[in-house]
Amino acid sequence: MTSPGSILIVGASAAGLSTAEALRRHGYQGRLTFLDAEPHLPYDRPPLSKQLLSGAWEPPRVQLRGQAQLDALHAEFVLGEPAVALDPAERAVTTVSGRVLRGDVVVIATGLTPLRLPGQDHLEGVHVLRALDDALALRHALSAGTRLVVVGEGVLGAEIAATARTLNLEVTLAGMGGTLLNDQLGQVIGAMLAEKHAERGVRLRLGVAIEELTGAAGRVTGVRPASGEFLPADMVVVAIGSRPATGWLEGSGLPLGDGVECDSRCRAAEGVYAVGDVASFQHEGLGRRLRLENRTNATEQAQVVAANILGADRPYTPIPYFWTDQYDVKIQAHGLPSAAAKVTIADGDVAQGRFTALYQEGGQVTAVLGWNMPKQARLLRQQVLGAWQDTPRLATA
């Protein structure tokens, strides 16, 4: 295959930017264009619920690259302009203003859209957290209010609750799961996290469905779970999960299921690739489809997408990895932890707040977790999960 003459990347964030950088690093000299709905140059999202929300960092700190590095990419940035349609055969993307951008190759890197509760858009004081502007709005609200209710007991909700507690707000964390992060990390670790939050003064309301936001004069006044109890609030964060941002691809004919459905090469159609949170791919090591919502996946998948655009024909077979920081706890998870797995402590001491744990299903180790033991967790990962990953490293391939 000959190298394409022009590449259009829709979504100028972690995955899109990493794809562009990898393309240049591997000698691609053609045109590169980014299109993004947001007005900002590429920035990083993990700090939005942590250092940026707490006020420890200001927005320039979350920029992914400095101006000199962006200049060196020789790319055009079309910002503040959402894509509304894709014609895969022509590889043409139409934007909201009617502009049409084309590429010999189109890369879809549009990430996720947060889910909302019915009626929330009509109430002031209700927030979601996905973008920099969301984070700044929430940070401002936290500095002005005193009572926060976070709806959603997953990783994002728990991080926001932790950050708000360190800012001394009254925080209630409510969600449907029986414990914190149950879907992501299971009951054993989830219960330890819940204990941490309770210790730090977060009011937990778990195992309750949130039916209703209450408001007066257009402003939120609280949350009413199905249990009937009223949780008063000056502001509410809705962190009940997200959906792949594929609305603009409806009608394109691309296979859309849980995200853009790609093959094991991260290709959705001839000349069309998807990368990052929006991309569902066939994992050859696991023999099934996977879509990952984490920061490491964005950059790792980008390496493979870039190589394949340039003709490499390489499957993407990652060992998934994510981290979360809450109070003084840094959790690192390698592999596919699940609520169904049996969890055993491998090393360290739970009482001391430093340990590693193994997740096992059907006699197989499926994940390794570090609780304030990042290096040890990584070493363990290599011992027990190495077989999944048969992608040769780009640098050595």
Binding site: A14, S18, E21, A22, R25, D44, P46, L64, R65, R295, T296, A298, T299, E300, A302, Q303, Y321, W323, D325, K330, Q332, G370, N372, M373, P374, K375, Q376, R378, Q382, R393, L394, A395, T396
Partner: protein, 66 residues
């Protein structure tokens, strides 16, 4: 090539160590990156560039000028 790392950004992922173990390590206690070779040999350059690209915290900065 000259490498600098921002310890405050590093989240201890260890991706850099997996890719270029001769250049990067992690502290035992908190997993923060340790730079073993701030000016690595030519033979390491490709791996170091990939490590910088893959670092999920954008904590590794390279200046390519000699």
């Amino acid at each position: 090539m000259k490498i600098t790392v921002d310890e405050a950004k590093c989240c201890g992922a260890g991706q850099c160590v997996l890719i270029a173990p001769e250049v990067f390590d992690q502290r035992d206690d908190d997993g923060i990156v340790v730079l073993l070779q701030p000016e690595p040999d030519e033979a390491q350059h490709a791996a170091v560039r990939e490590a910088a690209a893959v670092c999920p915290a954008a904590a590794i900065d390279l200046s390519e000028h000699p």
